[in-house]
Symmetry: C2
Subunit: 192 residues, 2 copies
């Protein structure tokens, strides 16, 4: 269960075997079942999670009861509401497993300890944060400018994993279109 994390870190920073083991000790392995929630809107998010197996989603529910997915987290992804973790604010989002999953959990306190102990681990997280921002900005731009069809084509090209692992209704929610529209777009694509 830790090996996914170790590989992840190893491929990103220069680090010794001992340090890798030290890092691992900071994380608590947990298992969650499909449909289990790790965080609900209004709760303070106490942990970050690293996905070593499975898949989660982070989403917001609007007042009409519609869900809007902000993130799918597969293996080697981090999930959690960083803002809530950092500043003890109630979160706006839900985090839920969409497959039976294995996670490595770390609290704010331990994370800060770890940053102290292994500065390069912190650097890694800072770089990750930077990349996440860029990705999100790109998604923002595409959300603003793409038609439903273009959104689907784009996710096929750039995040096919989502298409293969997640129910289409959730893909639709991620793209900001209705599941019926997505269904029709897919039907049209086949005809070509």
């Amino acid at each position: 269960m830790y090996s996914v994390l170790k590989n992840y870190i190893n491929s990103r920073i220069q680090i010794s075997e001992t340090d890798l083991n030290l890092i691992s000790e900071y994380f608590l392995p947990i298992k969650v079942k499909k449909k289990q929630f790790l965080l609900r809107e209004g709760e303070i998010c106490k942990h970050l999670w690293f996905v070593s197996k499975g898949c989660l989603r982070m989403f917001k529910e609007d007042r009409k009861g519609h869900e809007h997915i902000l993130l799918f987290a597969f293996e080697e992804y981090w999930v959690g509401d960083r803002e809530s973790v950092v500043s003890d604010k109630p979160s706006d989002y839900h985090v839920e497993a969409i497959e039976d999953s294995e996670l490595l959990q770390i609290s704010k306190e331990k994370l800060n300890d770890l940053y102290q102990q292994i500065p390069s681990f912190r650097e890694m997280h800072i770089a990750l944060q930077q990349r996440s921002f860029n990705k999100l900005q790109e998604r923002m731009q595409k959300t603003l400018s793409f038609s439903a069809e273009e959104k689907y084509a784009d996710i096929m090209n750039h995040q096919p994993e989502i298409l293969h692992r997640v129910p289409l209704s959730m893909v639709a929610s991620y793209l900001g279109i209705s599941r019926e529209t997505l269904s029709r777009i897919r039907a049209n694509q086949l005809k070509r």
Copy 2:
């Protein structure tokens, strides 16, 4: 011109007068006229800019020639394509002055130097990055779930400055709606 930057930093981190002056020396003051571009899509972004006076926009142009604004930068904002700066990639975005503006410019190299010299300055930037991400995530969520009318109401409540300083056509582009729709929404609001 530097005083805006100094105030900005001072209100965010604990820092000496000497260090503030040292930091200032890393920045080159520049003036830009309204409609002047600091960055065009395809160019590598060589600098970050701190806005000490005026207002800029960062936007993407889609293939139909429509513009999609990702960021308005007023006084005390940072602009620039961080991804392009960091990794020397051609930028996807344009950066343009919407008002005659005064900026403090810093190159990647100088910025890295500065990070070394004044670690707390770097910490400040890291925290900023974190906040930007959270804001963007919130915007993403609103873009996905709000109607045109709700988007307008939201910007009135949370970013009235945008409404007062930038042309409505740009507000529309920022919200991801047409300028006509925005105009009609505003007309309706008056009737209540």
